[in-house]
């Protein structure tokens, strides 16, 4: 019998089956058939897995041995990690998955059975002073021992969370850094002494440095090595960011400078980057108000300058976002995107009073520093605007479910939380709440950026 006539017969036979025979045939076939995912070529599986949520991925690991082997194969885990945690270059996949799962799960479900700790804004420390830094209670600044926090003003002082540490600014020139791992506290003051009458602004916390400014003076405390450094800036700083031993600052006037303790100040050439469009006078006056700076965890020379503003046009309001990449002080590339403001209709509503001009704020994830996220300052239903992918160097539209406002770095005054793979911190009037990951901390698989570089 020829090949094709066998097929014809088989087809006729199958189409003529009774329901009972079909079930029997299904049973026969299921004997040698077929785990469709388990038999899918790996090249297709690597395309499917990045679309799975962490929970879905974790559940797939438990289906069967074949599934577990395939989902944990190198190409699949690599594809998943590339998509989810693009900036992480060394990791133990299962440990990382667990920690990310813990971190994202804790926002979706009410936390059950967790160890919740409230550290009050208080000088009678929950946390003992770090004995390596504080030799006795006598060296504590007077201001620190005397102050008492008014719960009504808690929102007005700066506090930051980064890689297991909380930095806050209780009074005048005092900065406190709490280490959540060792439950110890360090109290810092300016190395040139307390300056009476001047006000310190806490600007940024990184894995190594905590940055404050007093007028034009920039102070960097190394909260790991217990050193302090100062640098006089040409102009007051509007905002700072820090990674490793580097600090970048946007100054009033629009200049951007980069500095490492012990090195000269590098001024980036931004003169030709200012938008040559007619933005409204109030915005044109403060181009720097639309600017922020970001480091690249994979490249210690790179720096990104991001700007975002709204443009009023005849057809409605436009969102204009730009990212400039610098290598050292040299501008190397720029990327721009412009599109209709999805919430532009709000303008058409008639208000009795002037509606405040919306602003765009930029932030990045504490987890891996891979994206610059552009968000609307005044949230009216579309807080997320767009995202710049530092690794692939382009604007991307992330799925909203991948975005968690709480995961964003830069907990400037008014932003209420910080989270990474080990801790979740929520800032409250009475103090800050700490939730500790119950996962073992013996392996340190955090991204290189959140260690040191």
């Amino acid at each position: 019998m020829s090949h094709s006539s066998r097929f014809i017969e088989l087809r006729q036979l199958v189409f003529g089956l009774t329901p009972e025979e079909t079930r029997y045939l299904g049973f026969l076939i299921s004997d040698f058939h077929t785990d469709i995912i388990g038999e899918l070529p790996l090249e297709l599986l690597v395309l499917i897995v990045p679309q799975l949520e962490l929970e879905d991925f974790a559940r797939c690991l438990r289906v069967s041995k074949i599934w577990r082997r395939r989902f944990l194969s190198e190409s699949v885990t690599l594809a998943y990690a590339r998509c989810r945690w693009p900036a992480m270059d060394r990791y133990d996949f299962l440990a990382t998955l667990s920690r990310f799962g813990w971190a994202s799960y804790s926002f979706r479900q009410p936390l059950q059975d967790v160890d919740l700790e409230l550290v009050s804004w208080d000088s009678k420390a929950h946390y003992k002073l770090d004995p390596a830094y504080h030799t006795g209670a006598n060296d504590l600044p007077y201001d620190y021992t005397q102050y008492s926090m008014n719960p009504y003003t808690w929102d007005s002082f700066s506090k930051f969370y980064d890689s297991g540490k909380v930095a806050w600014h209780p009074c005048r020139c005092v900065v406190v850094v709490d280490d959540l791992r060792s439950k110890t506290r360090k109290v810092f003051t300016p190395p040139s002494g307390m300056m009476h009458g001047s006000v310190l602004e806490l600007q940024s916390l990184g894995p190594r440095l905590v940055i404050g400014t007093i007028d034009r003076l920039l102070i960097a405390w190394d909260h790991v090595g217990n050193q302090a450094y100062e640098k006089l800036l040409p102009c007051r700083s509007l905002r700072c960011t820090t990674q490793g031993d580097r600090v970048a600052a946007v100054l009033y006037g629009g200049d951007v400078v980069v500095w490492s303790p012990g090195h000269a100040l590098i001024r980036l050439d931004t003169s030709r980057l200012k938008p040559n469009v007619d933005i409204s006078p109030s915005e044109a006056r403060t181009w720097e108000a639309c600017l922020d700076v970001f480091f690249d965890p994979r490249d210690s020379k790179s720096l990104y300058l991001a700007s975002g503003h709204f443009l009023a046009t005849d057809s409605g309001r436009m969102v204009h976002v730009t990212v400039h990449q610098f290598s050292g002080e040299r501008h190397v590339a720029s990327w721009s995107s412009e599109y209709q403001d999805p919430a532009g209709y709000v303008n058409q509503l008639q208000f009795e009073f002037p509606v405040p001009e919306p602003r765009i704020v930029m932030a990045e994830y504490e987890f891996d520093h891979s994206y610059i996220v552009f968000r609307r300052k005044i949230s009216i239903g579309y807080p997320h605007l767009t995202t710049f992918d530092k690794k692939n160097r382009k604007f991307v539209d992330l799925e909203p479910r991948l975005l968690w406002p709480q995961r964003l770095k830069h907990s400037r005054p008014g932003m209420g939380a910080g989270i990474d793979l080990d801790f979740m911190v929520r800032f409250k009037p009475a103090g800050y709440e700490v939730v500790r990951s119950k996962l073992p901390l013996k392996h340190d698989h955090r991204s290189r950026s959140s260690n040191t570089d």
């Binding site: 090949h3 094709s4 097929f7 014809i8 087809r11 299921s30 077929t34 785990d35 469709i36 995912i37 388990g38 899918l40 070529p41 090249e43 297709l44 395309l47 499917i48 897995v49 990045p50 679309q51 799975l52 949520e53 962490l54 929970e55 879905d56 991925f57 974790a58 559940r59 797939c60 690991l61 438990r62 289906v63 069967s64 041995k65 074949i66 599934w67 577990r68 594809a79 998509c83 299962l94 998955l97 667990s98 799962g101 813990w102 799960y105 804790s106 479900q109 059950q112 799925e399």
Partner: protein
């Protein structure tokens, strides 16, 4: 050869399927093959696609016929299929809803990979990922007819490792 001329494809189970040339050109594999072949000698001969079953090929061609006017997505362009979608166009949603059978869905996915139809590959992968989303491990096993070959001890260990991903019970 004009784009509206018909070609015949022959599937693995020797089922012959008629398709317009324009639709067939959505498949980069076949499109390249047709360009290389000598038209005069091959005109009218069925093109063997023996790696794909008739049932799956029929659906693939149905999809290609609908999308034949579309720009063929460059296969060279990296990662078309790897882009994460949030939804499908309406026609494609219905197309996949009518498939129903999971095996057929996987076959279409495999076929679009083999025939190099990036958009169909991207869509079918999206549908498969959708099917896995939000299912418990037990539901996945039942849905895909998989036998659990993990020992209770192994399973308990995995369950504890990823307790956050398991339903609270």
């Amino acid at each position: 050869m004009a784009d509206n001329s018909m070609v015949t494809l022959m599937a693995a189970d020797h089922i012959e399927i008629q398709a317009t040339l324009q639709a067939v050109k959505q498949c980069a594999t076949l499109g390249t093959m047709l360009e290389v072949l000598d038209e005069q000698q091959t005109l009218g001969l069925p093109i063997p696609v023996l790696e794909v079953s008739g049932e799956a090929l029929k659906k693939v061609i149905e999809w290609c016929e609908y999308h034949r006017e579309d720009m063929v997505v460059e296969t060279e362009q990296p990662g078309v299929a790897a882009q994460i979608l949030t939804s499908l166009p309406q026609w494609d949603t219905e197309f996949f809803a009518n498939i129903g059978d999971k095996d057929l869905l996987i076959k279409i996915c495999n076929a679009s990979n083999f025939l190099e139809i990036p958009l169909l590959l991207q869509y079918s992968i999206f549908v498969i990922a959708q099917a896995l989303r939000g299912k418990s491990t037990e539901e996945m096993r039942a849905f895909l007819n998989i036998e659990n070959d993990l020992t209770p001890e192994e399973e308990q260990k995995i369950r504890e490792d990823n307790a956050w991903a398991m339903p609270q019970n």
